[in-house]
Symmetry: C2
Subunit: 123 residues, 2 copies
DNA sequence: TTTGACCCTCACATAGGTGTGAGCCTTCAG
DNA sequence: CTGAAGGCTCACACCTATGTGAGGGTCAAA
């Protein structure tokens, strides 16, 4: 599909699709006329990228961990460097921290909303 | 305590402590000589702010939800507007989404690391 | 009284993600 | 053939969190 369609389907500005490409996160083919050609699987990929950006990872990190996330993993198993392992462990731990943090705050907001609701219905 | 100490204790650049203040996230007192004076409870507060920034919330949002998180909540119960409730619900839902997202990716990285480890030990 | 550590404000700079427009080419329907 | 829609590159602009430095005050210990 062309850029306009994937933009619609992923609800992502065209500008950003080109930016993600520039950052090495996606590599659409090119048609003979120079137009970008997006394979179906890139739809998921774009969603994934946006999700990771949304939780605060920079493109530099996303570029590194993306290949390990939902591809046929066994293929590049042997190619992984100790350096990569370290990055992955580090990001995994950071994610765990963020998860704990988000849960705590999510629950706190929830408790607060519950309390206000109860408070309101008691009047 | 003065800014240098809270900076050390929260591992936060002084520059950012002043920035958080400028953004209305903390309000340290002032000493007669103009120095900022930080109460003990601001240590937690700063940690909280940094945590929220780290998971991708902008200061604008943090400013809104912070008062609801770990204070004696009953006090400002009655002051909450429907508008605020909406913001809180929205942010709570966004947090839930991020949590799901992070867990999925955290687990994926973990699975990948496990697999590489198993792979390595089988050789 | 001087020195050094620490504080103040102001202000310009940077990096990353994103917005926006100019100038130009391709494709397709009317 | 023409016009509209959509594609391309390039480039400047913006916002937010953060870095950094200048110029200057406060205070305590030597």
């Amino acid at each position: 599909m062309k850029i306009g369609e994937i933009a619609r389907r992923t609800d992502t500005p065209i500008r950003l699709l080109r930016y993600y490409e520039e950052q090495g996160l996606i590599e659409p083919d090119r048609m003979p006329n120079g137009y970008r050609e997006y394979d179906e699987h890139l739809v998921d990929r774009v969603h994934q990228i946006r999700g990771l950006l949304d939780v605060g990872l920079p493109t530099r990190v996303i570029r590194q961990i993306l290949p390990c996330l939902n591809e046929p993993q066994t293929i590049h198993m042997p190619y992984i460097t100790p350096d990569m392992v370290e990055t992955l462990e580090h990001e995994r731990d950071r994610m765990a921290e963020k998860i704990r943090y988000l849960i705590r705050n999510h629950d706190a907001i929830n408790a607060y909303l519950d309390a206000t609701e109860r408070h309101a219905s008691e009047e």
